[in-house]
Symmetry: C2
Subunit: 532 residues, 2 copies
Amino acid sequence: MQGAIHNSTSRLVTSLTQLVRPSRTARTAGLRPFLSAKMMAGDTEGDQPRRTKVLTMDTMNPHIKLMEYAVRGPIVARANELEKQLEQGASKPFNDIVKCNIGDAHAMGQRPLTFLRQVVALCTYPKLLEDPSFPEDAKNRARRILHSCKGGSIGSYSESPGLDVIREDAADYIQRRDGGIPSNPNDIILSAGASEGIRCVLKLLVSGKGKERSGVMIPIPQYPLYSATLAEIDAIQINYYLDEANAWGLDVAELQRSIDKARTHCTPRCIVVINPGNPTGQVISRSNIEDVIKFAHREGLVIVADEVYQDNVYAKGSHFHSFKKVLTELGDEYSNQELMSFHSTSKGYMGECGLRGGYCEIINLDTEVKTQLFKLISAKLCPTVSGQAVMDVVVNPPKEGEPSYETFSEEKAHVLSTLAEKAKIVAEAFNSVEGISCNPVMGAMYSFPRIDLPQNAVNKAKEVGKAPDVFYAEHLLEEAGICVVPGSGFGQRPGTYHFRMTILPSVEKFKDVMERFKKFHSSFMARYKDED
Amino acid sequence: MQGAIHNSTSRLVTSLTQLVRPSRTARTAGLRPFLSAKMMAGDTEGDQPRRTKVLTMDTMNPHIKLMEYAVRGPIVARANELEKQLEQGASKPFNDIVKCNIGDAHAMGQRPLTFLRQVVALCTYPKLLEDPSFPEDAKNRARRILHSCKGGSIGSYSESPGLDVIREDAADYIQRRDGGIPSNPNDIILSAGASEGIRCVLKLLVSGKGKERSGVMIPIPQYPLYSATLAEIDAIQINYYLDEANAWGLDVAELQRSIDKARTHCTPRCIVVINPGNPTGQVISRSNIEDVIKFAHREGLVIVADEVYQDNVYAKGSHFHSFKKVLTELGDEYSNQELMSFHSTSKGYMGECGLRGGYCEIINLDTEVKTQLFKLISAKLCPTVSGQAVMDVVVNPPKEGEPSYETFSEEKAHVLSTLAEKAKIVAEAFNSVEGISCNPVMGAMYSFPRIDLPQNAVNKAKEVGKAPDVFYAEHLLEEAGICVVPGSGFGQRPGTYHFRMTILPSVEKFKDVMERFKKFHSSFMARYKDED
C-alpha cells in the first residue's frame, strides 16, 4: 500500500506541478489570507483571490498525524518498489521479494476453502442454486442466508449488527466452543473484519479531559491497530510489557505497575489482551486469563479480548481459552465485568482477509450504552453482506454426514497442520542463528525474534537517524529481499530490538528465506562487530 | 435495525436480570467506588469488591450520545416490530408494512444486474471460469481482477486504496463521464460504500479548539450521515438552507449568510453538496455548481461533492454535472480548489447496498495531507474486495459488441426508466392531496413532501413530547403501515414539516401506498382540523 502511496505521491507531485501555477498570494502554510465576504462581493470571476490549500499539515486533524501503522509502513512501501524494479529486470542480490510483513495467507499461496467460496458464490449468483455441481449443504447454507436478506438479495442492506441468522449461528458457535455456556445472538455484532469492531468499541469508551481522559492498556509488543486507533481517537495509550524471558507471558505485577503509573495522568478504562498473541505468538494459560479478569474487575476496566487467532494454536499442551468462558466460570462475582471478544474471517484456517468478515460478542455491557453502540453502527448502515456470509461458514461449518464435511475438514486440517509445522521450523531456525533468539510460536501467525544488535550497528543507525531495528530491517530487505516489520512498529522494551516475520511462506520457500536470512545476518553482524 | 435493537434490548434486559445479582456496593452511575490497588492486594477472590459498570451513559463518549441517524431510527424500529406482529397474525388496519424509509432497491424487489453478479461470483469461485454458461466478457473482467489480487484470490488484502486495476477503471470512467478531462488512478480511493470514504475525509479536516474548531457546511435538509458524523467527530455543523420554494435550489446568498454567521463561533473548512439531492431530489444546474465552487474558493472551503446519485436523473432538461468537470472548466484560477467527489454501488441502477462498494476521487489535495489520508486508511487494511469488484463493473460495464452488452443495457434501462416513472407519479400524487406539496423529484430516490400541519396537530404533538413531523409519521405508520422518515431527521426550516419517502416500491405497490396514504392523511387532517 505504502508503495502505492509513494508512487502515487511522486506521480501526484508531477501532476500538481503541471496543474498548479504559482499563486499570486504567498503560500503560507496555516495562514490563509482570507478577504472578508464584503470585500469579495464586488469581485468578478477573473479577480478571484488565490489562496493556499485549506488542508495543510498545519490545519489537518493533528491526531491523524500521530497515527502509525507499521504493518503497512515505509519498509513495505520500499519492498513494493523493489518488487517493481525486479519485474522491470533490475539486478538485485535476490530474485524475489518475500513479503513476511502481513498475515495475509492467500497472498502467500494458501488456497481458499472450497465450501466457503461455494456458499458465497451461491449467495452472490443464486442461479447457481440450480447447478448440480454445487453440493447440497452449500446450497442450504446459501438459501438460509438469502432467505434472511431483504428481497432475497445480499445486495440489500442487512440490519446494522448483521443478518439475524448469522448472528444466531455465531452465538451457537460460541456456545459450542465454550462447552455450552450460553451466548445470545443479540450480543453479537458482525463487522467488516475485526478491526472495524475494535475501532467502534474503543471509540465508545473515550471521554474526559486532562486526568479524566480515558486510558487504554495495551500489551507491548502489540498489534499496531491499537496504537493507531488510540492516536486517532485521542485516547491515552497505557503500555504494559509482556515478559519476553517468560515466553511473552502476561504478568499481573506488571499490569499493576502499569496502571498505577497511568492513574497519575489519565483514567484507565480498558485493557486489551491479544490471545493468541500478535506479534508475539504466545497462548495465554487459563489461570493467567483468570488473573487478568480479576485485575480488570478490581481496577474497573472493560476487557477487550482480541481472539482472532483462536483457531491458530500449535504448541503441545497449549489450548485456546476464551475470556468469555473463563469469565463465566469465575462465577457471579464477575457477572458485571464488561467484556468484548473479537473474531475474524481473516485469520484462522480460512485466511479470508479481503472479504472482510468478523464479529464482536458484547458481554455485560450496560443496556443503555449498548443501545448507543448500536446507534453508532447504524450510521455505517451494515458490514458487507458477503463478508457476513463468510463469517457464517466459519461459525457454521459442514457437519459430519453432510456432503462437504470431509473436504472441508481435510482442507482445514491441512492449513492448520502446515502452519503448526512452520511455527516450529521458524522458531528453531532463528534460534540456531548466533545473535538471534526467538520464543516458541505457540499460536497466531508470527515469529517475533530478538536481535542482539552490536553497539556499532546501534550507533550507525542513530547516526543516520533510524531506529536500530528499522536500520536492520531495511538492510534485510535491501540485501536479502526479505520484508519484515521492525519491532518498534509494535513496541518493545527500550534497548531491545526485534522484528515480526509471518510464518506464512510455504515450507520450501521458508528454507530459501532462512538461507538468505542467515547469509544476510552474518554479513551484517560481521560488518558491525563490536571491538572487544 | 432499530427493531433489532429494541428486541435485543428487551431480551438483553431479561438475560441481565437473570445474570446480575444485586451488587453489594450501590450502583451509582458515573461514580465508581474503586478501592486503591494497595487496599486490594490482600483480598482473596471471594472478597473482590463489586462495582458498577465501567461504561455508563455518564462515562461513555459524549459525542456518540449526540449522534442521530433517523434513516434507521425509532420509527423504523417500530415498523420492524409491527412487521413481526403481522407475521404472528396480529390484526392491523393494513396487511403489510411498506418500508419507504431507506434507499435499498433490492429490499424493495429490484433484481440484481446479471452481469454484475456473474463477475463477482466468478471472482469468488474461480472454478466457474470453466463453466461455459458464463459469458466471456464476465470471465475477462473476473480474470483481470483476480490477476490484480495477491495470490490470485479476492481473499487476500488489496492495497488500502483498492486494487490498482479498479482504480484505473474508475479513473477511466470519470474521464469518459467528464468528456475527456483527465482523472488519475492515484487520486482514487475505493471504500466500503461512499459512507466510509466520507467519514474518513471529514475526519481528516477536523482540528482546533473553540473558535478555531473546524466547521462543515451542510445543506438542510441533508442526508443524516453528515450530521451523525460531525457529531461523532466533534466538528461544528453549519447549516445552509435549500430553497424549497425554488425546487430545493441552492442559493449563494444563503451560503454567505450561513458562513458569515458561523465565522463568529468556528472556522469553516468544508462545504458538503449532495447532487442529486438526498432527501430533496433536486439536480443542481451547471451555473449553480459554478457559484458553489467560486464561493468555496473565495471562502477557503474544501468541497465534498456527494455524487452517489449521478446516474439517477429523471427530470426533462436536467443533467448531472460533476463538480470535477465544472471545477476544471473554470480554469487555472481554481486549480488549487480541494474537491472530494464520492460515488457508490448502492444507488444508481445497480442498488448493490449490501455488497458495500464506493470510491472517492481526491482532487487538488495537498501532497503531504494526501499521504496522511492514505496512512489513515492503511490501518483499516482494505475495503471489501468483492465490493471493489462490484464497483469495477459499474465503472467498466460491458461495451458494445461484448456478449453481455445488450442484457446489461436492457436491465439498466429498465431500472432507470421505472425509477423515472415513479419519480413523476409520486410527486404528482402528493400534489393532488390537500395539505401536501411536493417539489418535483428531479433525481435521486426520494420524495420530500411538505405537510401543512394544522396547529391542533402541532399542539397535540408538543403535548405528547414529539416533534410534529415525528408525530405525523408515527400515525402514518400505525394507521396505514407506511414507514417514512420524518423531516426533522434531515433538518428543515423551523415551522415546516416534511417526510422522506423513497420512490422504490413497485409501480403497483405505489398505487396501493398512495391510496392508504390519502385515506390516512384525510382522516388525520379531519381529526386535527383547526377551528376557523
